[in-house]
Structures are given as C-alpha cells and as structure tokens.
C-alpha cells in the first residue's frame, strides 16, 4: 500500500491519493493535502464542508454528494465549486481523509 509523507507525518493512501485509514487523519494532514490540491489555505467555509462530510459518513457510511451539501444548507453548489476548484466532491473527500465518491452525481 502506498504511503504519502507530509513533513514528519505519513499516511496510507490508495493509487489516487485518497487516504485508506481515517484514523490517521488530522487537521494538519488535511491542510497538507489541500496544499497539494492547489488550495493554499483551508478557510472556515472549507471546514464547514469537511465537518459535514465527516458527520454524514459517520451517520450513513457514505460520502455526501454535491446535491446533499447544497440541500442541507451547508454550502451552495456555486460556492462549493469556487472554493474547491477543479472537482469539488472529489477534492473535498480527499482533504477530509475519505474514500473517493462513488456516485455519478
């Protein structure tokens, strides 16, 4: 299994860089992955999305869709695309230390 190193920290990831062991996730790791994904700094808006994703995953075992994020009032679709440019659901899941979203929408 590949390992990714961020300074002194290291995490297990899959072939596409998604973390495979959530227990290794920390806020520092999240910030490091975000940087790699081209997000210089995680703002409160980013954290709101990440926290919601963790909560949803704990409750339903699923990574929430863009639609769910919008409908639950966490963030509008427009803003989500703005703060996670180039693939919001995938990037947010990666930063949140979760698996790649499987749905088509």
């Amino acid at each position: 299994m590949p390992t990714k190193h961020f300074g002194t920290l290291s995490v297990d990831v899959d072939a596409e860089g998604f973390m495979t062991d959530f227990s290794q996730w920390t806020k520092e790791i999240a910030a490091a992955i975000a940087k790699e994904e081209g997000i210089a700094e995680l703002t409160p808006a980013h954290w709101k999305v990440i926290d919601f994703m963790h909560k949803e995953f704990k409750e339903n075992g699923q990574v929430p869709s863009v639609r769910k994020l919008n409908k639950s009032g966490v963030i509008s679709t427009k803003e989500l695309y703005e703060i996670f440019p180039g693939g919001p659901a995938k990037k947010a899941a990666k930063i949140a230390g979760m698996k790649k979203p499987e749905g088509c929408v």
């Binding site: 639609r67 919008n70 695309y81 995938k90 929408v105």
Partner: protein, 155 residues
C-alpha cells in the same frame, strides 16, 4: 497516462426522461471532474429548459422497448405518469435530482446552457419561454465555435 479530457459539448436532442437525463448526468459529471462543459438543447430535448415543460417530463410507456411493457398495457391512462413517478422516486434516493433542480445544479456547477435556434424558430419559441439558466439561443455555427477544442457528445 492518456491526456485528460478538458472540454466537452453535450447535445441533448431527445425528449422524455430517458432522453434528457443521460446528457445532464454527463454534463454534471464533467464539471465534477473539473472538465469545462456546455449543453446544447435541440428538438424535443428543448423541453428540459422550457419553463412550462421542464417539470412535466415523463417516460414513454408506449413505443419504448426498453420499458419491457406490452403496448396495450403501456397505453392505459396514467401508466406513463405512474412509471415516471416510480422512476423519479428511485432517482431521488440516488441523489439524482428532478429535471428543474438538475438544470439549476448543472448551471451552478459552471456548465453553460444553450438552446438551438432552428428548433426555437420551428416551435415559435421566445427567450422568455426558457428557464433563466439558458445563456442564449444559438445556431449550429455558434455551437461549433463554442465546442471548439473539445469533444462533442450527441445524446
């Protein structure tokens, strides 16, 4: 690794749920992957962006071999409405939104929407007949201009 797809232009030419959804899912999926996307609605596909029609799009139960339903059964009153309602409920559970919400979502995701001029003229439609997400009514030439450098997908 193969070159990644950077841009797509998707044409939706058919009406009915099964005509409209595939193109919307492809366009939305493109945006989710960071791919530039535009949607071009033509012929009966135009129903998906006509204000009065977009919320009433059904699945055909007659003349649709994919439904595996006898024609005589499919033509019973309310059969199409029932099939549509069942299908819509299943899709909603999978987080596939109803068409009006889907149009809004894909537009918010940064996909540009266009209506086909030839069809607009043929059906005597006006810009006001369309939902606000429709950017403009364009001809085929303009469509190719917009699609330049990307892939064209016809549905």
């Amino acid at each position: 690794m193969e070159d990644k797809i950077k841009k797509v232009a998707i044409i939706i030419s058919k009406g009915g749920l099964d005509g409209v959804y595939p193109g919307l899912i492809m366009a939305n999926g493109a945006r989710m992957e960071g791919i530039e996307a535009s949607l071009f609605f033509t012929f009966f596909g135009l129903d998906a962006v006509i204000k009065k029609r977009m919320g009433k799009i059904k699945i055909a139960t007659v003349g649709n071999p994919g439904m595996h339903m006898a024609t005589m059964l499919g033509m019973l009153p309310g059969m199409s409405a029932m099939a549509t309602s069942m299908m819509t409920k299943t899709m909603d559970k999978l987080d596939i939104p109803p068409i009006p919400e889907f149009i809004e979502m894909v537009a918010d995701a940064g996909c540009k929407l266009y209506a086909c001029k030839a069809t607009v003229d043929m059906f005597k439609l006006k810009k006001e007949d369309f939902c606000p997400q429709v950017d403009s009514i364009i001809n085929v030439g303009k469509f190719y201009e917009i699609a330049a450098g990307g892939h064209i997908i016809f549905t």
